[in-house]
């Protein structure tokens, strides 16, 4: 992305009058404005104080569930991604094969299937899970969601981490070795700081994807933001249940996106001239 910023060219002089693309452009913008106004006026006309009073607290609570689900899964996924990334970069055939299979499985199958597999699939292995004392964990739908999400994001994060570490030139390792640093020190003090700058944007994208994907847990009885919207719609058959939730997700994702861009600008200041 920063490469494209480097080759910014002087903008061509602006066309005057009404060329065709401007007409199309204005028409499309008008369409969006009309669409937005339509939604606003619909929400205004369908304004239902009872609906709001009944479901707004539930939405807020659901938002809390969504955020904690995403936060916990992201952190667990980050921890889990380290050994996977290590495996992917390892020269050991078995280790790298295993890590490859792990990543391929979790990236190759839909998260919805993985979530069902954990929640309903593991649910049918209750006696075995009870024997090893894991059932108390899988009993809870929220935990099942976290489990599936953490495994899933670990696969993606491992690839991000690997890509970032491999993006650091080999000379950095050699230079550190010649200074007498051992491998772990090199990784921590030299490689990771450089790699994380590269990884920031993909990590940010992964976070946004997780926020969006978290809506899936509504299907396994977790009352997250989406779960509460489904409930509100089921009880009222009022489409504004989904419009409100769409607005909340949109705002959340936009805030995250801008925050990530801001952080990226801050930490790459030293790279700009």
């Amino acid at each position: 992305m920063s490469a494209t910023a480097a080759m910014v060219e002087r903008p061509p002089p602006r066309a005057r009058g009404w060329p065709r693309r401007r007409i199309i452009g204005y028409a499309l913008v008008c369409l969006w404005v009309a669409f937005g106004l339509g939604i606003v006026s619909y929400l205004f006309l369908a304004w239902n104080a009872a609906f709001f009073a009944k479901y707004a607290p539930a939405y807020l609570q659901g938002l809390g569930v969504t955020l904690s689900l995403v936060a916990i899964s992201m952190v667990l996924g980050a921890v889990l991604s380290m050994p996977v990334a290590y495996g992917r970069m390892s020269r050991n055939r078995i280790l790298s094969g295993l890590a490859y299979c792990y990543v391929y499985f979790f990236r190759g199958t839909p998260l919805l299937v993985q979530t069902f597999l954990v929640y309903y699939g593991l649910g049918s292995f209750r006696p075995q899970l009870q024997m090893v004392g894991l059932w108390d964990f899988f009993k809870d739908a929220f935990n099942c969601g976290v489990f599936a999400f953490a495994l899933n994001t670990a696969a993606y994060q491992a690839e991000i981490l690997r890509g970032a570490i491999e993006s650091v030139p080999k000379g950095q390792w050699e230079g550190a070795a010649s200074l007498g640093l051992h491998k772990l020190q090199t990784l921590r003090k030299i490689i990771l700081p450089q790699a994380l700058i590269v990884a920031l944007r993909p990590y940010g994208n992964e976070l946004i994807l997780m926020v969006k994907a978290s809506a899936i847990v509504a299907i396994i009885t977790v009352y997250d933001l989406m779960g509460n919207a489904k409930l509100a719609f089921a009880n009222s058959f009022d489409i504004q249940a989904y419009i409100w939730v769409a607005l909340v997700y949109l705002v959340m994702v936009e805030l995250l996106r801008h925050a990530i861009e801001w952080i990226e600008r801050r930490i790459t200041i030293h790279l700009k001239r």
């Binding site: 499309l28 839909p110 919805l112 699939g121 969006k212």
Partner: protein
């Protein structure tokens, strides 16, 4: 109901569920294939809008990607599946009060997946556009090609080649996202596996099967895209 063996459950025919799941796989593949051309077309035009000199076009295209990349796929799907019929119904009632509109889940799924696919594909197209040097356009104009001809004969072939790896990722996401349409009742792979799991109570078996199906589709796609890439490369070399 006697306890059935796993092999009966996975058999073909009235007692087994394999035929239902195979049917689901066909629906999954059809849905993804039907979405692809629509998504690619919209994505291409959105990318064109994004790199246009006209600010209003850029704005319209940016709103498009912001909205459809910002909304969770599931929310977009529910909004369309439940909202669109109501909207269309209101519009149509003005002309034909007795008409009913049947927005089936395949169609709703196709539209929603195309919207999502195109918003991601437009980013891929956009960076591919940026990778094509200006000289290519100028060369096209200088030999007397019109704007549209230059686009079609000079830019598009290069664009597709540059965008291919990115589009491959979009295709894999699309394949996985088709599973979401099961939630609004389209009888695709996951949905049929879910029905089987519900009726037979063998959840793990059938959801694993669904996972394997998607894995298999991903493997087949990567072979296919590999073959396409090779043939693209060959044509490149022949010149």
């Amino acid at each position: 109901m006697p306890a059935q063996s796993i092999w009966t459950l996975l058999s073909w025919g009235p007692d087994g569920w394999l035929d239902d799941i195979a049917y689901g796989v066909i629906v999954t593949v059809l849905l993804a294939l039907a979405t692809l051309p629509i998504g690619l077309t919209i994505g291409f035009f959105v990318a064109l809008g994004k790199q246009s000199e006209e600010p209003s076009l850029r704005l319209a295209a940016n709103i498009y990607t912001t909205v459809f990349r910002g909304l969770p796929e599931l929310v977009t799907l529910f909004l369309f599946f439940f909202g669109m019929p109501i909207l269309l119904q209101h519009l149509i009632r003005y002309f034909r009060p007795e008409a009913t509109i049947d927005v089936n889940s395949f169609f709703a799924g196709m539209i929603v997946l195309a919207l999502i696919f195109s918003s991601y594909a437009s980013e891929v197209f956009l960076s591919a556009f940026r990778a094509i040097p200006k000289g290519q356009y100028e060369g096209g104009y200088s030999i007397g090609l019109s704007k549209w001809q230059t686009m079609r004969k000079v830019i598009l072939p290069q664009l597709l080649r540059i965008a291919f790896p990115g589009l491959e990722n979009c295709w894999l996401s699309l394949l996985k996202d088709t599973s979401l349409v099961s939630v609004v009742g389209l009888a695709e792979t996951l949905r049929n596996a879910g029905v089987a799991a519900r009726v037979t109570k063998h959840s793990f078996l059938f959801y694993s099967l669904a996972a394997l199906v998607f894995l298999g589709l991903a493997v087949v796609s990567s072979f296919a895209t590999g073959a396409i890439l090779r043939s693209l490369g060959k044509r490149e070399a022949q010149r």
